[in-house]
């Protein structure tokens, strides 16, 4: 079995109050995820990423459409699917009243991990997520990054072959986010299939084998990162980065975007104002460019995205 997730026409409609038109949160999406792949779901706030995960993990009933996970039909075999998936929700939701260690043990108890295995695995997970020192600390007393790490550890405790991660690194400092990314990369090495959502373009670029870009409930692009980029290139813009110097202290770097390289360079040179040109680079389109192009969302949205968590949904 090489296809771990297959989704056809998956749709979720939320009825709105007061007779206005219902909200289509996820609008007939199709995709499939291969075994051992890290598959990224990238999109702005409210695009329908979380809703998709909630449907695929049995927390929310699809309005229509079909999904097969691990060879089992979502609508008929949810109980069996649940045993074999791990889910990390948008907000870290372990039990404040239990210690880090006990939280992991409880997670394993729910999934029927044999008693003889539990302790050993809990210790190993704490080790792996650099939380051994916090073994006996209440979840409530952990830092945000530690909570996130422990929540991911708990989702892996029953060793599922398929893991869903909803924004695993949002709100973490650079180092914690990096550590978590390394852990995710290691999951792939172990053959675990990973479905993750993120706002961070670099994260998707670094981690994912393939990316689906979802906007307003629809998938607008789905491909490997390199294919997405080369498509963006053939479709249009070129960016040139040029650095000027006034001979003494001042150095300024400017970026210019245009339809072709020649125009870009000419436009850039026109901004020289008598200064000397120190360096010039043509930039390959970044995933950011792809994203902006495909979503039609401009810089201001991206700024919200980059500033961490925009929007106020705490994962209801």
């Amino acid at each position: 079995m090489s296809e771990v997730i297959r989704v056809e026409g998956l749709t979720k409609t939320y009825p709105l109050s007061k007779g206005s038109t219902p909200l289509v949160a996820v609008d007939g999406i199709d995709f499939s995820v291969q075994e051992g792949e890290v598959f990224g779901f990238l999109g702005p706030n409210g695009a329908g990423k979380t809703t998709t995960i909630r449907m695929l993990t049995g927390l929310s009933r699809p309005t229509s459409g079909r999904a097969v996970l691990l060879g089992l039909d979502l609508s008929r075999d949810m109980a069996r699917i649940k045993k074999r998936i791990g889910v990390v929700p948008e907000t870290s939701n372990l039990y404040d009243e239990l210690t880090a260690f006990d939280n992991l043990i409880f997670a394993m108890q729910l999934y029927g991990v044999p008693r003889s295995e539990r302790k050993r695995r809990a210790e190993a997970l704490l080790e792996r997520f650099r939380l051994s020192e916090k073994r006996n600390t209440l979840f409530a007393k952990l830092s945000r990054g530690m909570k996130r790490a422990l929540t991911i550890a708990a989702a892996l405790a029953h060793q599922p072959p398929l893991v869903f991660l909803d924004e695993p690194t949002t709100g973490l400092d650079v180092m914690s986010a990096r550590n978590l990314r390394q852990t995710i990369a290691r999951l792939r090495d172990e053959g675990v299939t990973v479905f993750l959502t993120t706002h961070y373009l670099e994260e998707a670029e670094r981690l994912c084998d393939r990316i689906a870009i979802i906007v307003k409930g629809r998938i607008v692009a789905l491909d490997s990162v390199s294919n997405l980029k080369s498509n963006a290139q053939s479709a249009g813009t070129v960016t040139v980065e040029i650095t000027f110097s006034d001979g003494e202290s001042g150095v300024e770097t400017r970026r210019v975007e245009a339809q072709d390289v020649e125009t870009a360079i000419q436009t850039a040179l026109a901004q020289a104002n008598g200064r000397q040109m120190v360096s010039i680079n043509t930039l390959r389109p970044s995933l950011e460019d792809v994203f902006v192009k495909l979503t039609g969302l401009k810089a201001e949205v991206m700024l919200v995205e980059k500033g961490g968590k925009g929007g106020g949904n705490a994962g209801g």
Binding site: K82, P89, Y95, Q109
Partner: protein, 243 residues
């Protein structure tokens, strides 16, 4: 699948007991509250203290099981941890049964402590232990289901407390805890007969005073019916709340 459900039920109850129930404030409230009420009544109406014991026990089961139970589910839903249980390979009825089991275990433990104290003061030679066990168990099931229903019916934690008290306090005054139901006006008797606490007090009184099974069966039967209805209602409401 049944194995998963039973295991899940057990561990959910265990987790709730450790995380929420067996915490000092909850333990002391569970015991103090019923005692305080009975004491207040006894001071105002000095008389046969012994006759207040069934009511004291029933109140202890009621508050012991339902106080925390009414909060637990809505609390976990608000902070998001209920999702962990929904994601686990456990069906909804078993999940809810696990929550019930937690409340029942705590309520019965506290009640047992109160029972021992009461028996050591008043003696218990006439006690029918089987009847007592059944009465306590079915009372705990009924009140725990009531708590679960309250917990799934509301959206906020404070609403759960308000709704639980809205139901419990009338029950306390009409259910035969302080004054016997027979001495109430006819229309209040009709209402009293719709309240599970009434049957709980009646069955416990019979168990303590060597009462006859013929009448107690009916009390126990009603408690079982209340349990079933409240549990089903709670499950139905919870299923609709999700999604």
């Amino acid at each position: 699948m049944l194995v998963d459900d039973l295991r899940g039920m057990f561990y959910i109850a265990l987790k709730d007991l450790r995380a929420y129930y067996f915490k000092p404030p909850n333990i002391s409230w569970g015991i103090l509250f019923p005692f305080a009420f009975i004491l207040a009544f006894a001071i105002r109406n000095p008389g046969d203290l012994r006759s207040l014991v069934p009511g004291l026990l029933a109140l202890t089961v009621l508050f012991g099981t339902s106080s925390m139970e009414a909060i637990v589910i809505v609390f976990e839903r608000r902070i998001g941890s209920l999702e962990r249980l929904l994601l686990a390979p456990i069906r909804l009825p078993a999940l809810l049964a696990g929550k019930l089991l937690g409340g029942m275990t705590f309520g019965l433990t506290v009640t047992l402590a109160v029972l021992l104290i009461a028996l050591s003061i008043f003696g218990g030679t006439e006690t029918n232990w089987l009847m007592m066990a059944l009465a306590l168990l079915l009372s705990a099931t009924a009140f725990s289901s009531l708590g679960a229903f309250v917990s799934v019916a509301v959206r906020e934690v404070f609403e759960a407390q308000t709704l639980a008290n809205f139901i419990r306090f009338p029950m306390m005054f009409l259910g035969g805890v302080f004054v016997s139901v027979d001495s109430l006006p006819a229309w209040l008797q009709v209402i009293a007969r719709l309240l599970p606490l009434t049957y709980s007090v009646e069955a416990l009184r019979a168990a303590l005073t060597g009462g006859r099974w013929e009448t107690v069966w009916l009390d126990l039967g009603f408690l079982a019916i209340f349990s079933l209805c409240l549990y089903s209602l709670a499950e139905y409401t919870l299923a609709r709340r999700l999604d």
